[in-house]
Symmetry: C2
Subunit: 506 residues, 2 copies
Amino acid sequence: MGSIDTSDGDAYANSAVAPFKPLDPDEFRKQAHRMVDFIADYYKNIENYPVLSQVEPGYLRTQLSQTAPYLPEPFENILQDIQKDIIPGMTNWLSPNFFAFFPATVSSAAFLGEMLCTGFNSVGFNWLASPAATELEMVVMDWLANMLKLPKSFMFSGTGGGVLQGTTSEAILCTIIAARDRAFEKIGVENIGKLVVYASDQTHSFFVKTCKLAGIFPCNIRIIPTTADDNFSMSPDALRKQIEADVEDGLVPLFICATVGTTSTTAIDPVSELADVANDFNVWIHVDAAYAGSACICPEFRQYLDGIERVDSLSLSPHKWLLCYLDCCCLWVKKTDLLVKALATNPEYLRNKRSEFDSVVDYKDWQIGTGKRFRALRLWLVMRCYRVANLQSHIRSDVQMAKMFEGFVKSDPRFEMIVPRAFSLVCFRLNPSGGSNEADLELLNKKLLDRVNSTGRTYMTHTKAGEVYLLRFAVGATLTEDRHVYAAWELIKQCADAVLKENVLD
Amino acid sequence: MGSIDTSDGDAYANSAVAPFKPLDPDEFRKQAHRMVDFIADYYKNIENYPVLSQVEPGYLRTQLSQTAPYLPEPFENILQDIQKDIIPGMTNWLSPNFFAFFPATVSSAAFLGEMLCTGFNSVGFNWLASPAATELEMVVMDWLANMLKLPKSFMFSGTGGGVLQGTTSEAILCTIIAARDRAFEKIGVENIGKLVVYASDQTHSFFVKTCKLAGIFPCNIRIIPTTADDNFSMSPDALRKQIEADVEDGLVPLFICATVGTTSTTAIDPVSELADVANDFNVWIHVDAAYAGSACICPEFRQYLDGIERVDSLSLSPHKWLLCYLDCCCLWVKKTDLLVKALATNPEYLRNKRSEFDSVVDYKDWQIGTGKRFRALRLWLVMRCYRVANLQSHIRSDVQMAKMFEGFVKSDPRFEMIVPRAFSLVCFRLNPSGGSNEADLELLNKKLLDRVNSTGRTYMTHTKAGEVYLLRFAVGATLTEDRHVYAAWELIKQCADAVLKENVLD
């Protein structure tokens, strides 16, 4: 029946003869080597592809057959199809000309770690099912906590601990559930309608979704407004007033989500002051530092985590800015017992002496699902291969390039910065006559963005902050160098020329 | 500062010179080739490792330093450490002697797909962010639906659709939320305490956890008891009576989880009759076929999905029995609009013309998190490289080996089968004198299990069904051949001899 067929011969004719061996080590070796070359070539040529895919909706669905092929296909055919059908439909996140969203950073070390994770295919739902996966995850979570100078209360070597999750949404869902179930012990599940959660209008959209998943009533999700004057950071005073009002109304404040580096503009909520408010009312406070948290391994950025010792939980995604490939989100919690209490299962078929008598960590009780991949290998290889100094240099290099771009923007009077740059994101817009008609400016900048992105030579995105439509230039794709930032700026200027010319002609 | 260091020289001395390039294509190529060989060698030698890791808790944490290394390390050192520190702590899920839980199956094709998924690092939260990832996922979900002969109401080419998730827990959480939010439209969120969900006492433990995550009151989670006489399948009559009683009490039946192939004993809930009950009361019914669903690509097993056209959603995990590596769970739903309505977010920074005007699929609205990996590549490569006939032969070969083991059990009067074998799991126990003292038999079989697993030569697990402690022998690790099943049985018999001898001496 043949395993992966590598010949051009009649696969079907041979198929009755050989037994089907889906994991023949020799064949595995040969094909995986071929794939390494394919991916390395992709990286080598990546600048030749449009950053933002230029295909139309339905491009692939209409191209492929509606049912799986009946005959096995030569592997080389499939590689050709990937080149022909898949790559044109890729928005190439790893292109050095990708400045959209937040870049998802990568590295050889993380790739190797991921290969190994896949290779072992260990399912580490409890300690016994994979002691190495469990213990290495504990080790790397402590290592990274150390690099971030987190207090011992977040470490296994102290009184807390950490876990690797897929996404921030999952991480925050777990902490909301831990906080919620602690509250239920006092007020009973029947009072779920009294639980109130807090975030700012700049908090990532998943927060509201996650709260709803957890059964928090939509009417009890408080969105604290921010202002441009405060650089869109959450006001501790406004938060305190809202909580006081809710307590006054007989409601139960449950959970605050603070953000260090919001998705829109990398606004920074004041962790320390917000923690004071939270602590005063015994409310669980979580810090979402998905993007900017990684920068806090550099002393010059660590200040943004000041006060973290008074926070209940912290999440940070090394797949964003710590070279780790998707998906890898770190969650640290102080009261790990609350997490485990809320998320533990204990079916007979998973019971074992280690879990019962050795008080080992069973990671299934720290996450939503049961199954768990050996994600720690990625982070471990990154930390071992690159060490702290290289990782700091990588952060600083991105920030330096963003500073350079900021300089370009400031040097051209047709453009303006919208919020101060804090990390490696520059928020700016075209505003040639210093106008203040937001609708006109939005239209103008939309035109500019469309024109830039439709070239395929650069990809950036937009957002709105306080009703201002702005362009986001996020530096940090792993292969980006000064020359790419420079070229992007030249392109933006050219497109601005064209757009302004069109506007005059209108 | 050096990238991955490959020399034995003074890495630190060189570190100030070269810029840090975490993704140099040439270095990537070299190191990834090295890792391919490492993994292929691991597969080649896997029989030499104990299946169940023999380490003690804390083995690794005490071995590794408490903080990340200051100096970058030669890659070869790290590979040596993986061999020395990590592999001994692995419970080797891919060993051909792994018969525990349900095996997690793999293949060269899926490995290649996963390499590519990692390599591209595409973040397909919406169509525009990765058209290829979105459309290929739609294509493979339809392909697999076709292989399973699902009705068009579950396909994009019909009126439904599918999505790849990480785990069944996530998939079921999404469907419960869709059902819950539909109910809220009628009864209001303030009546969350009236919503009732149903499963059997054999349903996976994540079900209760998932319902609690969604805010379902624990007192409203109905567990329908099963019996050995019914082979532990859920009784439609018992379900109907429970629902009627709940309606009578003014409660709102919300969601039924039926299982095709339970985790304990691969019991099969009668989908068609349960769907009738669900449809009569307009309750959302989900079929969890995580393990056994894959078998339904074979005509002789497809009957277990009869009635699926009257079901609301179905999940199945190709990482279990369809050679796909972790993590890969397929979820199909009929009313995709309900899913999207419950899970959609629409932040400004993700808005784009495609999502607004082209009614494309944005997969972030089909799942818990925002970020999404290009998982479809794995399933696509498996289906293209192996085609239907090979995949069917893989399922049948596992079932055949399980039948062989069943024959061994039945041929030895000291052993007994506990439930009839339906797929590739054999549930049996040692009961040399046909006794019925459950406590004694549990002790005896625990001793046998411990003895077998402590050899490291075979790994199997246990469960309880109807208070009966039983041993689970799950055939299906990808590298398992007849000879491994035979050797495992010989080992079990030897261990039984020893345990029975000890018992006599006691």
